[in-house]
């Protein structure tokens, strides 16, 4: 929990004919972080495997067919988990065959459905177009008998009518206004057949949009529309039947298609991963990082799948020179229980810890929930946050992690609500088991500062552990190391002593002065001394212009004083926990006051409760957001800054749970 998962660097050598089986196994395990062969000596010598382009192309094609089927059947179900990773070279045949089978069954219906929908839309469109001619009661039978007259119907921008009329002034014509709507005129245009081209040119340049009239129409426009409308219900009935069939297909084939798509995605990813493999003749080389626990299982499965023709080796990272020298970084695979895991995102947002550093997610999670609850303490609000989190957890798979965080914060808020005796801001429903923030401000602020001292101390301890793990012993004497920590604890001890049992005795103050003076002196001289030692060791070597000792002492003095001030500022910063808890309570007072005013003004009790509901919603949204931001701020700036160096490499498995989506 406090350290990332222990990893081995593994190397697999496998004959080409078994590479697909090995890929399948790697896909199954989901926990191999591949190292790009180009980063190794083998890669630099040019022994890179490359990807099987033809096979990837086949997967691309089948994926596009599956996606089309899913879209046409309107399948919108969550992606099912794959129980077993595919074997890319073999499974392509199976996937293609299954997709073809589904296509055979489904395509006819889909095509027919599309045709019916198209016919239906066309019919409706024609009816809507012909309806424009209703005011003129156009008779298509009579129009069809015109042999020397050319005519057309359409829509013209109203402002173009004058210039259209003028442009046609040299020919015999008639423009019949059928109706007018906004800036458009529905127009019937007539001219002699011999002037047809002039009319068409003029209409075209006046942005006349001709209404297409299907050929062979007989009778008046009203009758034509009626006839067309009679044809619509049977078509709609057909469309309904097709839609029902499609629904059945969706139920029957939807899950299969989703599974096939997932298989194809994973297979493609595995094939693409081959770009990171090395190859000499027909032997493939794979190298990467694997959790120690999985090594035996991996080895056993690969040996079995390849009839003992593969070599699977492991190396402890400690035994790799490049790792020791920091040239190669070991990727970080977090290892936290389910309730802590969602907070890994917050840690990653700040940075990825290195393999040697303490993995701080558990501390972050616990302190986050504690601080949030303290600032947002209310049973009712906590319950609402919990329910909102539960909803997200159950319904919105993509945001599940945030759902868990919200639920945990909700529980914490509710617990602090019980301690504060607050239910939706009402402080008389349940007794406060600890204190009312608004009534016991001094005590609450001291507790907040105490929490601050605790968290900063924890940060300093973690930093000491990191220093020891990373063997940076010279840092122990620095302001951020043991000396700085001792100085902080000394000052914090004095402050606690003052709060608990009054001012310290003169002798205690004298001792504190002497010790803190010594510690400060160590912090100041630490850097110049270490530089002098280094220079002494490097005597004789040609070096560039060097910084003077006096300058270094001056810088160290400023740095030491700055560190002391930062300790103080960081601790005081935690008083915001009390401040925001008070804000939360003060907002309730505000909401109740407004509710009182509104109910007195309107004379109705309904408005009182309405104001309370709206006020609570506003508090939850506004204060919830502010408190979250403040908590993150405390975590990052006050806590993480004490120990977190970062710069690690995140673990990226070949196939992850969500790689397909």
């Amino acid at each position: 929990m406090f350290r990332p998962v222990k990893l081995f660097r593994i190397t697999i050598q496998v004959p080409g004919k078994y590479i697909s089986q090995v890929l399948g196994i790697l896909g199954d395990l989901k926990l191999l972080h591949l190292i790009n062969i180009n980063e190794t000596h083998l890669g630099k010598l040019g022994y890179v495997a490359g990807v099987p382009a033809d096979l990837i192309n086949r997967y691309d094609k089948v994926l596009s067919r599956i996606t089309r089927l899913l879209r046409e059947l309107d399948v919108k179900a969550p992606v099912p988990p794959l129980e077993k990773a595919p074997r890319p070279d073999r499974d392509i045949f199976l996937i293609e065959e299954q997709v073809s089978r589904i296509e055979d069954k489904v395509s006819t219906y889909i095509l027919e459905g599309k045709k019916i929908e198209k016919d239906l839309a066309k019919k409706k469109e024609t009816i809507s177009r012909l309806s424009l001619l209703l005011p003129a009661d156009v008779d298509f039978t009579r129009l069809s008998q015109l042999h020397f007259i050319h005519y057309s119907f359409g829509i013209l921008p109203g402002e173009n009518l004058d210039r259209l009329t003028e442009s046609l002034s040299d020919i015999h014509h008639s423009l019949v206004k059928i109706s007018e709507k906004k800036d458009r005129i529905v127009l019937g245009t007539f001219c002699l057949t011999e002037d047809k081209q002039v009319l068409e040119r003029a209409l075209r340049s006046a942005f006349f949009h001709e209404i297409e009239i299907p050929s062979g129409l007989k009778g008046k426009v009203g009758q034509v529309i009626e006839e067309m409308e009679r044809e619509i219900p049977p078509l709609e009935e057909k469309a309904k039947v097709i839609r029902e069939t499609e629904r059945q297909f969706r139920q029957r084939y939807g899950p299969d298609l989703l599974l096939l798509r997932e298989k194809a995605y994973v297979a493609k990813i595995l094939l693409k991963a081959q770009a990171k493999f090395g190859k000499i003749d027909h032997i493939y080389f794979l190298t990467g990082w694997l959790p120690v626990d999985l090594f035996e299982q991996l080895k056993e499965r690969i040996i079995k799948a390849t009839n003992g023709q593969a070599l699977v080796d492991k190396v402890d990272p400690e035994d790799i020179r490049e790792v020791r020298e920091g040239i190669i970084k070991i990727p970080i695979l977090f290892n936290n229980p389910i309730l802590i895991r969602p907070f890994e995102k917050l840690t990653s947002l700040y940075g990825t810890p290195t393999y040697q550093e303490v993995e701080p997610t558990v501390f972050l999670a616990l302190s986050f929930v504690l601080l949030f609850g303290m600032m947002f303490g209310d049973v009712g609000h906590g319950l609402i946050l919990f329910l909102a989190g539960l909803y997200i957890f159950r319904r919105l798979y993509k945001y599940m992690d945030y759902g868990i965080i919200l639920m945990e914060c909700g529980v914490s808020s509710a617990i602090f609500g019980i301690l504060y005796g607050s239910v939706f801001g009402m402080e008389d429903l349940i007794p406060a088991l600890w204190l009312h923030p608004m009534k016991d401000i001094d005590r609450f602020m001291m507790v907040s500062a105490g929490i601050g001292i605790g968290m900063i101390s924890l940060g300093l301890i973690i930093n000491l552990v990191n220093i020891i793990r990373e063997r940076r012993f010279e840092d122990l004497l620095s302001a951020s190391g043991l000396v700085g920590a001792l100085l902080y604890w000394l000052l914090a001890g004095l402050a606690i002593r003052y709060v608990l049992s009054g001012p310290p005795r003169p002798v205690e103050i004298t001792i504190a002065k002497v010790i803190s003076g010594l510690l400060l002196a160590v912090m100041i001289v630490e850097r110049p001394i270490s530089v002098i030692i280094k220079r002494h060791r490097a005597r004789g070597e040609k070096v560039k212009r060097q910084e003077g000792i006096a300058t270094m002492v001056l810088e160290s003095t400023i740095e030491a004083l700055d560190s002391v001030l930062r300790f103080l500022a960081n601790t005081v910063s935690f008083v915001r926990v009390a401040a925001f808890a008070l804000t939360h309570a003060a907002l309730f007072i505000g909401v109740f006051s407004i509710a009182d005013m509104v109910s007195h003004g309107s004379g109705s009790g309904l408005y009182y409760y309405l104001t309370l509901v709206i006020g609570n919603i506003v508090i939850i949204l506004l204060e919830g957001m502010v408190v979250s931001i403040q908590t993150i701020r405390l975590e990052y700036y006050e806590f993480f800054s004490k120990f977190f160096r970062g710069g690690g490499q995140p673990f990226q498995p070949v196939v992850s749970e969500r790689s397909g989506r």
Partner: protein, 362 residues
């Protein structure tokens, strides 16, 4: 009069200041005489155009297009100042309508680019730098894959309604021409509408006079181009003409659209254009255009005489400066191409000689 003086004294003073900084005949003579485009730019950098032109000297990136986009920036600066100085909302609307022609030009470039599958970077140098003044943002248009999407996106802009009407023609003809015409006509229709909407009688009269002359000029050369270069029919040329002319209304436009040659077209012009046009009868379309500009410049100069408190003064300045810039661009391109045509065939003589006597003659 007193009200008009209060209303226009500020913008008038501002306009006249800007107007006084325009090029003088002595500048034109130097520009005309410089041997190459480098000298052209270097001299122009010493004039009011300096702040916009001098980066070209420093960067040594002297091409006709970067010159054109930069020099137009100075005009947009004037648009901004005049718009800011006007107090009446309807007057401001007219200035915006006039400015929309440049937005329309940019829009046409975007349409052409997307239609031809070009990227923003391919045509960025062609776009007028209108950002300082324009509220229209073209960025969203680049994300559209087709012309239909662009027209949909422009629905709420002043170009929207007519573009919507022109879309079926674009789809039927498979070329951008109807959409380009719709953009142009939208601009001039907007100018005509906003001119009619001006509240003051004097403002409306003066604006109509100047803008009407400007639109007459455009319509003559536009119809001539459509008829004799693009080979469109008279009815098409008429329907694509711009509304809002002063001397040329639908009847006159139809008459000149029916003319069989540029020379016969000029004979059909109404007075006083007919008298003025006699001098151009044997000329090509480009020279006729210069002659028309000459006539418009006369009308523009006239706006600065007499009672100065009306909207005609700022409009006259903007159109005059626009013509000046267009002449500079033409002259600059001639310098680049080392054309031997005399400057009088590129630039109206009103610019070259100073305009007083010509104003009187016209």
């Amino acid at each position: 009069m007193l009200r008009a003086a209060i209303k226009y004294s500020y913008v008038n003073a501002k306009t006249r200041t800007m107007h006084s900084k325009r090029l003088r005949p002595s500048d034109w003579h130097v520009i005309e005489d410089v041997k190459d485009s480098q000298g052209f730019i270097q001299y122009l950098a010493t004039t009011f155009y300096g702040p916009w032109i001098s980066p070209l000297i420093q960067n040594r990136k002297v091409g006709p297009l970067s010159f054109e986009t930069r020099i137009f920036k100075s005009l947009f600066h004037d648009y901004h100042k005049i718009h800011h100085g006007l107090s009446s909302q309807t007057s401001k609307e007219l200035i915006l309508a006039l400015f929309s022609r440049f937005e329309g030009e940019n829009l046409k470039i975007v349409l052409r680019a997307i239609f031809s599958g070009l990227k923003k970077t391919d045509v960025a140098h062609l776009l007028y730098p209108v950002e300082e003044f324009s509220k229209m943002r073209l960025e969203g248009l680049w994300t559209q894959k087709g012309i239909k999407g662009i027209v949909k996106l422009l629905e709420t802009t002043p170009f929207g309604p007519l573009l919507h009407h022109a879309l079926p023609q674009f789809e039927a003809q498979g070329r951008l021409f109807p959409l380009e015409m719709a953009i142009d006509i939208s601009c001039y229709r907007r100018i005509a509408t906003t001119t009619e909407a001006l509240r003051g009688e004097k403002d409306r009269k003066e604006a109509k006079k100047i803008l009407g002359s400007f639109i007459d000029m455009l319509n003559i050369s536009h119809i001539a181009r459509l008829r004799f270069i693009y080979g469109l029919s008279p009815e098409e040329a008429l329907n694509y003409s711009y509304p809002g002319g002063n001397k040329l209304h639908l009847k006159e436009l139809h008459a000149i659209a029916k003319a069989g040659s540029p020379a016969s077209m000029l004979k059909l012009l109404p007075e006083p254009l007919k008298t003025i046009a006699k001098a151009w009868e044997q000329q090509d379309l480009a020279t006729i255009r210069i002659g028309l500009e000459e006539w418009v410049l006369g009308e523009i100069r006239r706006a600065f005489l007499g009672n100065p408190f009306h909207l005609g003064v700022p409009i006259a300045h903007l159109l005059g400066k626009e013509l000046e810039i267009r002449c500079l661009v033409r002259l600059y391109q001639a310098k680049i191409q080392k054309m031997s045509r005399p400057a009088t065939e590129i630039v109206p003589s009103l610019f070259l000689k100073g305009g007083e006597q010509i104003v009187q003659a016209s």
